[in-house]
């Protein structure tokens, strides 16, 4: 269990996929406009990453080295198709909000990166731990960025239709730049600088 815990914990801070490995930036920045979208994207990444890590770790001894990348990509693309269809059927609002960024999970570097760097060399159990840890790390980063963007950009916070709070002045005059694409760059840049400054995460 100790080993399982270690593989799980490392993805959250030491090798956080967003702030330290700087992988999977496209979805992180594009959909981090609200907490709802962040949670939807996390669910998609969880299903695909867990599935691909399990399958790839299970077949790792049978895959010829030279064709491994195309095989990984086909496995990932199939899983993404499954997630796409599930979201379309059961979570239509999230499906609409994520738009082309949902199918683009295929080329999310986190998933292929973990397949290549981790799952193809470790056991199924370790790969599950790795997938879960990476997803939690991804989720925390995504939630942090979307929380800041949603609160500053709209002046209020609502999650799945439930209004949690509205800030006094910002509620009437929100800082719209944070909801625009440019705000994403500012928030992630400042957060990364802050984490380095405080020594929470190394470069």
């Amino acid at each position: 269990m100790g080993k399982f815990g270690k593989e799980f914990a490392k993805g959250i801070i030491i090798t956080n996929p967003v702030f330290v490995l700087v992988l999977g930036l496209c979805p992180t920045l594009a959909i981090s406009t609200s907490i709802d979208n962040a949670l939807g994207m996390t669910l998609a990444v969880l299903i695909v990453l867990l599935g691909s890590n399990i399958i790839i770790a299970a077949i790792r001894n049978y895959v010829p080295n030279i064709t491994r990348i195309p095989i990984f990509i086909v496995i990932i693309a199939t899983l993404v198709t499954v997630v796409n269809l599930i979201f379309h059927a059961y979570l239509p609002a999230t499906y609409e909000a994520l738009g082309i960024y949902l199918p683009l999970v295929v080329v999310n570097c986190i998933i292929l990166g973990r397949a290549e760097a981790f799952a193809s060399k470790h056991t199924v159990a370790q790969s599950i731990a790795d997938a879960l840890g990476m997803t939690v790390g991804f989720m925390l980063a995504l939630l942090m960025i979307s929380f800041i963007r949603q609160v500053l950009g709209t002046g209020s916070l609502s999650v799945f239709g439930v209004d949690l709070f509205t800030l006094p002045v910002l509620g009437e005059h929100p800082i719209a730049i944070f909801i625009l694409p440019y705000g994403a760059f500012i928030v992630i840049g400042l957060l990364m600088g802050l984490f380095r400054r405080t020594g929470v995460m190394k470069e």
């Binding site: 990509i73 693309a77 082309i100 080329v107 840049g189 600088g193």
Partner: protein, 191 residues
């Protein structure tokens, strides 16, 4: 004709692939340290985007739609892109060795570039015609190259600037991208 111009300008300046749609960020921050390699990368990506748009448009309209298997879109598109990149790599290696070495590692990496899969998916969701798809790919690619080249020019200067230690490298690059994007916001009124 005016429709094609709108698509083109819209993707180059207004909905810039990198600064507004966040497609192709990995090479944007990875490669954009030298102007020369940034431009080579931009040209390679534009080229692959145009050919991939052509191929996926033909496949979706003559194979996926008639057979009613559109749900295979993602798998087919990524396979087409991966194959195309391999063919282009082989072709360049046989015909122009100098160009091949100047692309280096970037060429195979284009397969997992969001911009390429992104443009094929945008073509499909926006229902562009064949000419529209290719113009969109060229516009998207040019916008990508433009942002990459500008960023690399700025980063060459930033290396020498006196930035706070914890902001050095990537964090300041993100902030720069935001300011660059804000400048592009001014083009919003063109189309």
């Amino acid at each position: 004709m005016s429709e094609l111009v709108t698509i083109f300008l819209g993707l180059v300046l207004i909905n810039n692939f990198i600064l507004v749609r966040f497609l192709g960020l990995c090479p944007f921050f990875g490669v954009s340290k030298q102007l020369g390699s940034a431009i080579s990368m931009g040209i390679a990506v534009t080229f692959v985007m145009a050919i991939a748009s052509l191929a996926t448009w033909l496949i979706s309209n003559y194979i996926l739609l008639p057979l009613d298997i559109e749900y295979m879109q993602i798998v087919i598109y990524i396979l087409v892109i991966a194959t195309l990149v391999q063919i282009i790599e082989l072709f360049i290696k046989k015909t122009n060795l100098g160009l091949y070495f100047s692309f280096g590692i970037y060429l195979p990496l284009i397969t997992t570039n969001c911009a390429v899969l992104g443009i094929t998916l945008i073509n499909a969701t926006e229902n562009y015609s064949l000419s529209g798809s290719i113009v969109a790919a060229l516009g998207g690619g040019l916008g990508f190259t433009l942002a990459l080249a500008m960023m690399s020019g700025i980063r060459e200067k930033l290396e020498l600037a006196n930035t706070p230690k914890s902001m050095k490298g990537l964090p300041i690059a993100f902030i720069t991208a935001a300011l660059l994007g804000l400048a592009f916001l001014g083009f919003g009124g063109i189309v």
